[in-house]
Amino acid sequence: MHMFEGFLSADWWQVWLGAFFTLAVLSFLYKENALYRFAEHTLVGGYVAYRVVILWDNTLIPRLRDNMVRDGQWIYLFVLFVGLLLYTRYGPSQYAWLARYPIALNVGYFVGLRMAMLPRPTMVQITAAFRNLWVTQDGSFVFSATVNEWVIFITTLTVLSYFMFTLARDWRPTQWSGRLGRYLLMVGFGASFGNTIAGRITLFLGRADFLLSEWLKIGG
């Protein structure tokens, strides 16, 4: 039996543990069961621990050990204090409102970022909607390219007109173009869906490949 090569060695355990958890999760397709629950709770507990470890190792400790103590940036002590105010939610209820300070600071800082940065990638998209509706090459008219440009132009405008909520929403042309826009949006969604299936199948193929060639050692 190839499956038992290197029985009980670290590599053997790795493959068998992997196979066990793979099968445990796949069993959910039949119904929710004890094996799945076991994998589920391992995954949740394990990843919570993993996040704590990686933040501890890569952010909390280097900042406090290197930046604060070694380089003397004592502001991190203040930041740490503000951050710890969040935990007052779990203490006596008369101090729970203190948690609003770190929340307000965290959210507010990103509100500023979004205000400044949201328009940035969109500007390129607006200028990309400027189309040349009469394409010529070396002085002669190109039919297919012109049709494509028209389709692109109309699709952009009609899709955007679907999202008219208050102004001009009862105007007949807006309603019609909005409806057309919705159909074109569905074509786009269909394209996304069709393109995605490949990716999703790949994910399972990766697992099946593991089970067949690494665990059972057949095929391939």
Partner: protein, 276 residues
């Protein structure tokens, strides 16, 4: 109940079972469907071929192990290509699990080509702080990384990373972003538009990123496993992606067949319902 009525109300478990069968069979007995190379994959290959020797390429693993089957083949093939041409690789990660997963791949390939850590490749990993952290790298790479790599080695002491002051074109030849969602490509496009950006995305994201390709914000875009299979062919290192293209086709055929049958059932049954 007619067969069509039964078919319309089929238990999803039967579909799961059929799918399992259809996907596993061609893995054991391959058919050998052809692979077509797209211009967007060729663009990445050509860029690597034209790089001056010893260039430093930044890898950004913005994916979790979950989507590794789609992304890892390209990462492997590209590492083969880069290491064969004597280029250097610095790996960072916008996803915390990406850091862990890719370090395994990187170590494996580096060992195969006898590359030395800190000289030919380095792995700086992930840091907390999402966009705040990411934007900071544009101006101070080492400071943003808190001065250490993933294992806690000092970045200023390693020959490769010592001079990498910022994530800018002066220091890195380009970024290859291995993206399976957000954060990922959008961050590069928004906050660091000057870096030449090459993307291996999961297939699901490709339609959305097409608009970046059109506006030249992305230089090359590889789509899921198909992209991996194409790159493997270009480099001549056939691997997982090329092998799994057959079941891929079979799976698609099954879904299309099911769709057609489902629609026939739907039409037959709605005629019956109308007749009643």
């Amino acid at each position: 109940m007619s067969i069509w009525e039964r078919f319309e109300r089929i238990n999803p478990r039967f579909i799961f079972l059929l799918m399992l069968f259809v996907l596993i069979t061609p893995m054991i007995r391959p058919i050998g469907l052809p692979v077509y190379i797209t211009p967007l994959t060729q663009a990445l290959y050509d860029w690597v071929e034209d790089l001056p020797p010893g260039s430093v390429v930044l890898f950004d693993s913005a994916f979790a192990p979950g989507s590794a089957s789609e992304i890892e083949p390209t990462m492997r093939a590209l590492l083969h290509h880069l290491f064969q041409n004597d280029h250097k690789v610095v790996m960072m990660a916008q996803w915390e699990l990406g850091a862990m997963h890719s370090s395994t791949v990187l170590d494996e390939l580096a060992a195969e080509y006898g590359k030395e850590y800190g000289v030919d490749y380095a792995n700086v990993g992930w840091r907390a702080g999402s966009e705040n952290w990411f934007i900071g790298l544009r101006d101070d790479f080492i400071g943003g990384m808190v001065g250490v790599d993933m294992s806690g080695n000092d970045l200023t002491e390693m020959p490769l990373t010592r001079d990498l002051a910022a994530v800018r074109p002066e220091y890195f030849a380009g970024v290859v972003c291995f993206a399976s969602g957000n954060p990922g490509v959008d961050d590069w496009v928004t906050y660091n538009p000057n870096m030449p950006l090459f993307v291996q995305a999961t297939a699901v994201q490709v339609p959305t990123y097409m608009r970046f390709v059109e506006t030249r914000q992305i230089e090359a875009l590889l789509s899921g496993q198909a992209g991996g299979a194409q790159y493997e062919q270009l480099v001549g290192q056939l691997g997982e992606a090329s092998r799994l293209m057959d079941p891929q086709g079979a799976g698609h055929l099954l879904i299309i067949t099911l769709m057609i049958l489902g629609n026939i059932a739907f039409i037959v049954n709605s005629k019956k319902r109308a007749a009643k």
